[in-house]
Symmetry: C2
Subunit: 141 residues, 2 copies
Amino acid sequence: MHQPKDLQSAGLKATLPRLKVLSLFETSKERHLSAEDIYNILHSSGEDVSLATVYRVLTQFEHAGLLMRHHFESGKSVFELNHGEHHDHIVCLQCDHVEEFYDAAIEARQKKIAAEYGFTIHEHSLYIYADCTKPNCPNKR
Amino acid sequence: MHQPKDLQSAGLKATLPRLKVLSLFETSKERHLSAEDIYNILHSSGEDVSLATVYRVLTQFEHAGLLMRHHFESGKSVFELNHGEHHDHIVCLQCDHVEEFYDAAIEARQKKIAAEYGFTIHEHSLYIYADCTKPNCPNKR
DNA sequence: TGTGCAAATGATAACCATTCTCATTCTCAT
DNA sequence: ATGAGAATGAGAATGGTTATCATTTGCACA
Ligand SMILES: [Mn+2]
Ligand SMILES: [Mn+2]
Ligand SMILES: [Zn+2]
Ligand SMILES: [Zn+2]
């Protein structure tokens, strides 16, 4: 699964909880996970990690650049592996299905707008909230 | 200041707390206010409204279409008068200064992207987090 | 390969924004 | 003016997250 190297090169000791959380992100079919998601998934497979540690590890991984944090409207932070390429999200309001996209035109316009207003961009968040068309989505129609 | 008509046409009784909150939005120089902001401003001018009522009224105004709610990274909801025209925001990470913008190209791209992925857009949120160049901003340079 | 100590963890209390509860007060149609 | 129902205030409760601190663990070094 993991090389302790992954963590040590990030300046983090290779502890069991950290290995488990990182492994979960690498094997889960859902890219975007909340602290509670992770806590529940680990516990349901007998891998007990305290909720406090899950929160701590997520924040550490975020600072180390291993994970990215997102603030969807759900109110809870959602994390995903940082693969180094920025992207934005379309979130289904009915089933929480998330699609990722990158649009060079939107990125360029943002840079231009910030410059016009005299701002230096740190980051941005663009979330499109919508209804998806997945067959199993509760958008009953 | 206000006509009770404003509220009644929105299906809301013209109560004192509601009149005060609406008046505050119309007279404040800062368009974007949190529940705590409103609570503090009202109290510092001797207009006591309970915090629970501030929260209730803000949510009612949002549902009535009088206010719009935003989720900045601060973690707390921020509200502004709904003037009917959608816009997005640039938020200074140092001084919380907010600029509003509307970009037709960005809006058009979002519609197109959502359609490509088979989503029907409900709404979207675009926040650019940046450093501003206000003279009083703690961007010491 | 064992030891020591700093760092990490677990359990739980605390925190903060927000919502709920319910007894009291207010609004407004009559 | 009155009364029924809606709104308010005070504070308890909630949900997500962080802080505290005693105990356990990783790992550099002997
Ligand atoms: Mn993503
Ligand atoms: Mn605005
Ligand atoms: Zn869906
Ligand atoms: Zn600033």
